[in-house]
Symmetry: C2
Subunit: 460 residues, 2 copies
């Protein structure tokens, strides 16, 4: 076989043991919160039918879908005129039926409709899994990355929104992210704004424009809207709306004035008020703040919307988001299945925790003890002692060949194993083993009889 | 949007919460054993370059690789004569650069070479992940499924083989699979057999034929070999070899006689003997048995080979396998990186555990307590009580809308939640809550003050 340079496909990553340990720590912390709140884990396949995926993420999204080539003679079914004219877009449906999932939400919609007879509604599920997007890779953006979502399907009650706020609050605190702001709003209020601006037909354009306000200056956004045909009068209404500020309570009062008589607005304000009051009634410190410039560009949100923003370290960005969507399952024939959900930006959270040193120290190596030896006799002796430790659930290894002690200790250091038990002929004879604490540079003699207890005490 | 029937891509699966809980139980049990033995978890991407994957699994394997269509105008770079002649195989390299991993072993080889400066050798890693194969789907065989591998790279010591035997032994016992046989042999003994049969050049053919002996009758296998040009004399040698039997000790003695003077055979027998004796010295009950019909068809094995067979229930089949391979990393430029590894057949193990009822009962729902209520006042009261339970790490939920009690209890039953706390106006007034044990059909009154302690006692 020809030699191949070991290379990753662009936009993908390998994970070293230390990185996997940290990621597991992060996922387990979030999973524990989900479980405590009654969410159950599900899984859907990486591969979905393209029919399921296409058309759900806009034209741009369709382009970013990874498509899987049909097996076998894949060109066979492509009409010859398409091949003759080299029309890739027309050829696509003839050569690819499957793709890789783009998010966890569309598969959830399919899943809920497909398995509705077997699920308990309101269905509270979480899903941690990879998704794939053929985006141009750049720092912090990959073609294969994790998403971590919790959703409640089939219940319109606003307590669901509150539950998700509590989950964000508790999970971020648990991870050590104490400077998080939970920005919330309601798309019904935006719909009312569009009504007040007389531009209900352009609701999406308006929502996308408002969504840009956290990155682009207000004036620029207004300019763009003017270019897109909005009038100065409309912009003035928008500007007044965006100027409403103060405490949550004060903003709610101003909103009520502003949208008086616009029923969808009154409903949205009432929902927002209920969510805030209920959340604060059980979690007075929940960092929720109404943000009227929050819009969540995605078309499918219909009510409550939320975005979690990290305010510590240098990576001050969105680390989670979500909202209520009423019509997501409709495309698959699901009826009356309103949903509300949140997504943790786990890749970003990982980077922030790394920067802020929030991962525990002891994740680095699973192994607590390495047995070192000098020849076959001491190796055999050490191997038996090793098994005793393992039978007591101490994570331990033996260096697997007769090698120089330096090499064995080197291995322990590289792997950040804290203890080395050194078994020489003297140790075999006296049954007193030398235990080196490699972290502290100390050593002592420990009787073979009590070795297990010795390490159990160290680790409990 | 057009309505779409919710359907899975063929050969893929959704997992219901109960199934995910069971699978997590299985993975965690194995992970704990791996960790105790000093193995560290790594991860490689699902998407690899086709260059990395192609040619490693034989022609048949290449056909089963899922290939990912290049993004954008994928036909653009296909030479026009290839399109004109509709030659899929020739077009392939022009329209697909990436594929989905077919196993975890080839990615491991790439990984080890690519990251060797950052790894501690001997490198003990495990990896649990999905792999994809465009196989024809059938009962128990999927196009997307989990593999679960542990390997040690960079150490020729036979203690490594013993460690893997101990892991198999401990993990299967832990899972409740008590009727497992670990069949072992050594490919050097097979090489010696080929030498004795004067067919060293046809070693692969011989190995593949022997490998079939657990499914096909001996006579049929002999017949096939005769048809492939083996002589009767050669078959006689093979037959004598396959007739060697008895205890491990007795087989080793017979092998020594049989291969006397054939040095590679003597070495293989010595290795096998050392592995057996060392394993039994620390784990006298390890169910290891020499099986001379074990060959492990895969070309890359060079020494020790192992296969775990389940002997309980109706699914009596291989549930794990492995062996030593000396040259796996060479294709990526890795030198002196001999490896030895095992793979748990986790999909099969799952099915067997399901059949034998080996999964714990209480996996079914994470939620321990559901709060039920009757109106806004009782709901608010219940919501606060709920948060108290959660703050004490009791997994609990509240029904999120005001609904009939029957509907709320129905939800609890469907989700197999054991306790319902019922909060009516009387309960709010007296602060004595009604706790229903839905499993046992009993109920009692518990003071709100001690509710957390009540459930903590139930679950600790």
């Amino acid at each position: 076989m020809e030699k191949i340079k070991p290379t990753l496909s662009k936009g993908t990553r390998d994970f070293l043991p230390e990185e996997v340990a940290k990621r597991n720590f992060l996922f387990e912390a979030i999973t524990k919160v989900f479980s405590k709140y009654g969410f159950q884990q599900i899984e859907t396949p990486a591969i979905e039918r393209l029919e399921t995926l296409t058309g759900k993420y806009g034209d741009e999204g369709d382009k970013l879908l990874f498509k899987i080539l049909n097996s076998g003679d894949f060109l066979k079914n492509v009409p010859s005129e398409i091949l003759a004219e080299v029309k890739s877009s027309a050829a696509l449906k003839h050569i690819a039926e499957k793709g890789l999932r783009y998010d966890l939400t569309v598969p959830l919609a399919r899943y809920v409709v497909q398995h509705q007879d077997k699920l308990a509604f309101p269905f509270r599920r979480f899903h941690i899994g990879q998704v794939w997007r053929a985006d141009r890779p750049q720092k912090g953006r990959y073609q294969e990355f994790y998403q971590c979502d919790a959703d409640i399907i089939g219940s319109a009650g606003l307590l669901n929104e509150v539950e998700l706020i509590l989950i964000f609050t508790e999970a971020f605190a648990k991870l050590g992210l104490h400077e998080v702001e939970l920005k919330i709003s309601n798309r019904k209020i935006l719909a009312a704004l569009a009504e007040k601006m007389n531009c209900a037909a352009q609701f999406s354009v308006l929502a996308v424009a408002i969504d840009k306000l956290d990155k682009v200056e207000k004036e620029k956004v207004f300019e763009t809207l003017l270019q897109e045909g909005f009038s100065q009068q409309q912009i003035d209404v928008l500007a007044t709306y965006l100027n409403l500020n103060g405490t949550n309570e004060s903003i709610l009062q101003q909103l009520k004035q502003f949208f008086i008589g616009i029923s969808i607005g009154e409903l949205g304000i009432e929902e927002l008020e209920t969510v805030i009051n209920t959340a604060l009634s059980v979690a007075p410190n929940a960092p929720i703040k109404i943000d009227l410039s929050l819009a969540r560009g995605l078309d499918y949100y219909t009510g409550f919307i939320i975005e979690a923003k990290n305010n510590s370290g240098s990576l001050r960005s969105s680390i989670g988001s979500g909202g209520r969507y009423d019509n997501l399952t409709e495309i698959f024939g699901g009826k009356n299945l309103t949903g509300v959900g949140i997504s943790f930006g786990v890749e970003r959270i990982f980077d922030i925790m790394e920067e802020l040193n929030l991962f525990p120290e002891n994740l680095k190596s699973g192994t607590q003890v390495l047995f070192c030896h000098f020849d076959e006799v001491t190796q055999n002796f050490a191997f038996k002692e090793l098994q005793k430790l393992r039978s007591g659930n101490v994570s331990a290894e033996i260096y697997p060949t007769v090698s120089k002690l330096g090499k064995q200790l080197d291995y322990a250091n590289k792997k950040q194993i804290q203890f080395a038990v050194i078994v020489g002929s003297e140790e075999v004879e006296t049954q007193m083993l030398t235990v080196k604490n490699l972290k502290e540079g100390t050593q002592e003699k420990v009787s073979a009889n009590v070795l297990l207890q010795y390490f159990k005490n160290k680790y409990n």
